[in-house]
Structures are given as C-alpha cells and as structure tokens.
C-alpha cells in the first residue's frame, strides 16, 4: 500500500476505522479536533456511528454503553477533557470493557494552553480516576506510530478486556508525515458477556458495584492478576545505540524525537550516548533500564513535564546510576541542541546531579 501524507490526528482516526471501530463519541477540544472531524466525515459512510456528546463526561459514558454491547468504540480528547473522563475511565476499567481512549496532550495545569506537553503522564499511568486500576498506555513517536498503535490498541483492548489509552501530544497530532496503514484484519474476539438483549440466554450484566468486601477484594486481586499478565506480555520499548553507551537517555513521544537527534549529535562528537524509548508507558519497560544500570552508566530523562517519567526511570534504575533531568514546559518543546548541551555538560563537564 502506498504511503499517504496525513496529520497525526487524522492517522489515528483512519487507523481506528480500519481496526473495526464502529462508534465514536467525542467532544471538541484543541489540539485533537481533527479526530472527531475525520470521524464525523468518514465513520458513518463506513458503517459506524459518530455522535458529538454534550460533554466529555457524557462521551465517556456513551463509550461505556457501546463497549458493554461488544462494539469497538473510541473517544478522544485532550488533557482537561481527559480529567473529565476520569470517572468514566475508572468504571470502564472496573467493568473490564474494551475501548480506546486517545489523549492528545496539551499543556496545563488548569486550562493551561493548547500547545504540546507531556504533563498527563502520571494521570495516564498511575490512575487518573479513583480506585486501583490500570490502563494499557501506548505512546506513539511519529505519525506512522499514531496509526500503528491505534490499530493495535483495539486488538489489545479486546484481548485483555481493558481500556487502552493512546497518549500523544499536540505536536504529534498536528504534524504531517507519510504513513502506511497496517495491512491486516483486526483480531476480533467473541464477546459472550456483552449486553445485546438476552435472547435465549440468561441476562448479561455490566456492573462495577460490589458492596460485599470479601467479594470486592477478590475482584481487585483478579484485576491485579490480569495487570501482571499484561505486564508480562505487552511491555514495549525501542533501544537506540545503547550497547556501548556511557549515558542512556529516557524519553517517549515528541521528547524522544528530539532526544534521538541529540544522541546522533553527541555520537558525531565521539560521546557514547544511547536512547531507550518506552512505547508502552504502562506497563513500563523497567527491564531495559534495570539491565543497563550496571553501576557504570548514567541516565538522562528528557520530558515535557516537571519530573514525571523520571520517577519510573529512577524506580527501574534503583540507585544503580545517576539519573539526570532536562525538561521544557508550558507548550515548549525541547530542542536537540539543548539536550546535546546537557549531554556535553554531563559527560565532559562532569556535571553531577
């Protein structure tokens, strides 16, 4: 199939339709508007339902309803809107309903701004809503990955009966790159639990309430056991020039693009630098960091947030290496030269944390 030039947001929408998404419930918010716009134009003519909800709160609860019927369903929003969806996401995780939630992050806190940020890392990977639950969180680093990971998100959601979040940012959403869509059928699974009308069978119930502590505790442990299996099977990351590296950068999404260029700049100057790019933010790829942290290496976390990714990197490194930090905030994107300067300061200037 030929490559087409698309915006990241449009690539997400097109990939979702190809993955069998048959319902989209959304609410406008910048910088993700190309997703609902694309869905409104294309989804109905390709056999799906597009509906603009009255709020993000309603949209996520429409997702709950449709997911409970066994239909592949998606919603998208940006940071403040994801906060509004948080209650519904907790319910969806608790009811073990498969769906895809896209967050094209903008800068915060509060209304913040409309420019790119990675400030919702904690919200995505540590909870966001109430109670003990996990989302599978996938972080694309290019328009191609916006498409690929969205397509795979639907399969993962069905496979694990779990909501999957595609965590992008305003830069990835707005930029245009060539993209080639996955040329395979989505992996559809039977959903005998879905509420489709109890014709010739006992009623199915989609529910998250359980007021008997002994019973709810079991339910919590069952979820935890599922999350452990997901961690075993679905952890993803990409390594770049880390074999001989004295300094390993950790960065995802837009930050990783700048970090990779900085690695090349440093290599040209003879500095041994590499990059580990987490692709699944939950489950977090702790293993490559733990393995690399042999006491001889240093680490540098690059993020567009005020020290969020660095917490998971530190946990993985577990004290066996200094972890440095560089970031930009408020919609500013780190540039390769400024990351390179940091690398130089660490490796040649003897900068300590």
């Amino acid at each position: 199939m030929a490559k087409v030039l698309m915006k990241g947001n449009e690539a997400i929408a097109e990939a979702a339709i190809r993955a069998g998404c048959r319902a989209f419930y959304g609410y406008p918010i910048t910088p993700q508007n190309e997703i609902p716009n694309y869905m409104a134009l294309h989804l109905p003519e390709r056999g799906g339902v597009y509906l603009q909800a009255e709020s993000e709160v309603s949209a996520i609860n429409m997702v709950y309803g449709a997911a409970g019927c066994g239909v592949r369903v998606m919603t998208s929003s940006s940071s403040p809107g994801i906060s509004l969806k948080a209650e519904g996401i907790s319910y969806i995780a608790a009811a073990e309903l498969p769906c895809v939630i896209v967050n094209v992050m903008r800068c915060g806190p509060g209304l913040g701004g409309i420019h790119p940020s990675q400030g919702d890392y904690f919200q995505a990977v540590k909870g966001g809503g109430h109670g003990d639950y996990r989302l599978i969180v996938l972080a694309p680093g290019s328009v191609q990955e916006m498409a690929d990971l969205t397509f795979e998100a639907f399969d993962l959601a069905d496979k694990w009966r779990n909501p999957v979040m595609v965590l992008a940012d305003g830069l990835l959403g707005q930029m245009m790159e060539p993209v080639e869509f996955i040329d395979r059928e989505p992996q559809m699974v039977p959903k005998p639990w879905a509420t489709t009308g109890a014709e010739g069978r006992k009623p199915n119930i989609i529910n998250t309430l359980d007021i008997v502590p002994e019973s709810l505790e079991k339910r919590n442990y069952a979820l935890a056991e599922k999350y452990a299996r997901i961690a075993d099977e679905e952890t993803r990351w990409q390594e770049y020039k880390i074999e001989d590296a004295d300094l390993i950068i950790a960065a995802y999404g837009t930050s990783a693009r700048a970090a990779r260029s900085a690695v090349d700049m440093a290599r040209e100057k003879g500095m041994r630098v590499g990059l580990i790019r987490p692709i699944s933010l939950w489950p977090f790829p702790s293993a490559p960091f733990a393995e690399a942290a042999d006491g001889t290496r240093q680490f540098l976390v690059v993020e567009m947030s005020m020290g969020q990714l660095i917490e998971d990197v530190r946990l993985a490194v577990n004290g066996r290496g200094v972890v440095h930090f560089i970031n930009r905030l408020g919609g500013m994107v780190p540039t390769p030269p400024e990351i390179y300067s940091k690398i130089e300061a660490i490796l040649q200037g003897g900068e300590v944390q």
Binding site: V49, S55, T196, N207
Partner: protein, 250 residues
C-alpha cells in the same frame, strides 16, 4: 382464571427496598410493560446510582449499571450501536435532576429513542435523606434540617415540564403511586413510553411520584397520604408532551 404472578421480566431476587417504598411497585409496572409488549429478550436496561442502584439484580433482562447521573449517556451509547433493541433507564431524582441534568436534557433534545423511568421521591434515600433538587419548600431533610428555604436552596425543579419544552421529546407524562387507581395509570403511562420507542418516535419519559417513608419519617400509609397532599399539588399529574396526540389534532 388469571393468577397474580411475578412478571417474567422480574427476577426472583428479593428486593432490598424499605417497607413502604414504592420502588417495588414501579419495578413491577416496568416489568409488566416489558412482558406485555413481548420485548424482554431485546431489552437492555440501565440502572443508575441511588436507591435503585441494584435494579440490575431485579430486572430479568440484559442490564448495565451506570455512573451517577450518566444513565442517559450510557443508554445513548447502547441505542446508537443497537438501534433495533429496546433501551430504558431507571433513575431517581438526585440522579436525573441534579448530577445528571446535562445528560437527561441533551438525550431529550437529541430525541434519543429511549425510554426513561424517572422516580421522584423528593429526597436522596440511599445516602440518608439529604435534600434533592425536587425536595419541596419547607420539607425537612438531613441537609435542610430546618426545612428547605428559597433563600438558601432555591426552588424544586419540575423536570417533566422542563423537558416537555424540548422538540426532541416525544412523550412526557407525570404519574403517581399514592393509590391503586393511580398505580394503574402509572402502568399505562410506562407501557406507552415503551411503545413510543418501539414506534421510533424519540425520547419518552415517565416521571413517577414515589414515597420514601423512612427518610420522610412517616409510616407507609402516612407517606402515601403525604405524597398525595403535598407532592401532587406541586408536581401536577398529566401528559406534558405526546407527539401522537399532536398528530391526531393536526
């Protein structure tokens, strides 16, 4: 000979409702309507949060349990992907008229082809008797211990009248459960609200006035009388919107 029996659309589970509460009657009327229309196997109900939170255990059809106030959004999500199924919500006044105001107004405005059973007992029963958006002026609750005042709490909301102003609403009726005659009328209204959906006419809601004898501090009999004497005057019974009548008149 006709024997009084449990509707097929109710399970055998014993209900948790307090003595004197009319939720059980309203569940039964809803189940009877589903039975009479022969739609149990294609009906998906949406339970809400409040006293009727366990409705999924009582209705013998596919059920989803929604977050507080969001039942109309959940029902919309279901109905849009399964338009040939019958979808209903069962919501109380705190759920529908307070936290879920946006969801119910917009479901009605869209003419969402669903049926809503709205149980109004003028109080939050499940959480121990707090003021509801439909609590009457002067009514004592645990959060209006000296009685609801306009100064502090504003006015009770008449949801049926409000929703009837929306073009998307096809059928809106308020009924009561304070005596057998009115219970019979409530049953007819609920059946009609399902019929409207089967005919694809759009949003249908029946507001059913209901008791909460425990939190009102009254005996079951006194509660029925209080409802008749206090709620019915403020929440007048009747049909506020019926597109089939409008068609007949046109």
């Amino acid at each position: 000979m006709r024997v009084f029996e449990r509707p097929e659309s109710l399970t055998e589970k014993q209900m948790h409702y307090c003595p004197g509460c009319t939720h059980g009657i309203i569940h039964r009327l809803t189940a009877e309507a589903i039975d009479q229309l022969g739609i149990r196997e294609k009906t998906i109900g949406v339970a809400s949060v409040g006293c009727s939170v366990f409705a999924y255990d009582y209705f013998n059809c596919d059920m989803q349990q929604a977050a507080h106030g969001r039942a109309p959004a959940v029902a919309t999500g279901i109905k849009r992907v399964l338009p040939d199924r019958v979808v209903f919500t069962y919501q109380g006044d705190g759920d529908l008229a307070s936290i879920g105001t946006a969801e119910i107004v917009h479901a009605a405005a869209r003419g969402e082809n669903i049926t809503v059973i709205f149980v109004n007992n003028a109080i939050y029963g499940m959480t121990s008797g707090q003021m509801a958006p439909t609590t009457l002026l002067g009514q004592k609750t645990t959060t209006t211990p000296r009685g609801r005042t306009v100064h502090d709490n504003g006015y009770p909301i008449r949801m049926s009248e409000l929703l009837a102003t929306l073009d998307g609403a096809a059928y809106i009726e308020r009924v009561s459960t304070h005596d057998p005659k009115h219970v019979m009328q409530a049953g007819k209204a609920i059946k009609k609200a399902f019929t409207m959906q089967l005919e694809g006419r759009g949003f249908a809601l029946v507001e059913v006035l209901s008791t909460c004898s425990v939190n009102w501090g009254l005996s079951p009999q006194e509660a029925l009388e209080w409802m008749r004497d206090n709620m019915v005057p403020y929440y007048p019974l009747g049909v506020f919107k019926d597109v089939t009548r409008e068609e007949e008149q046109a």
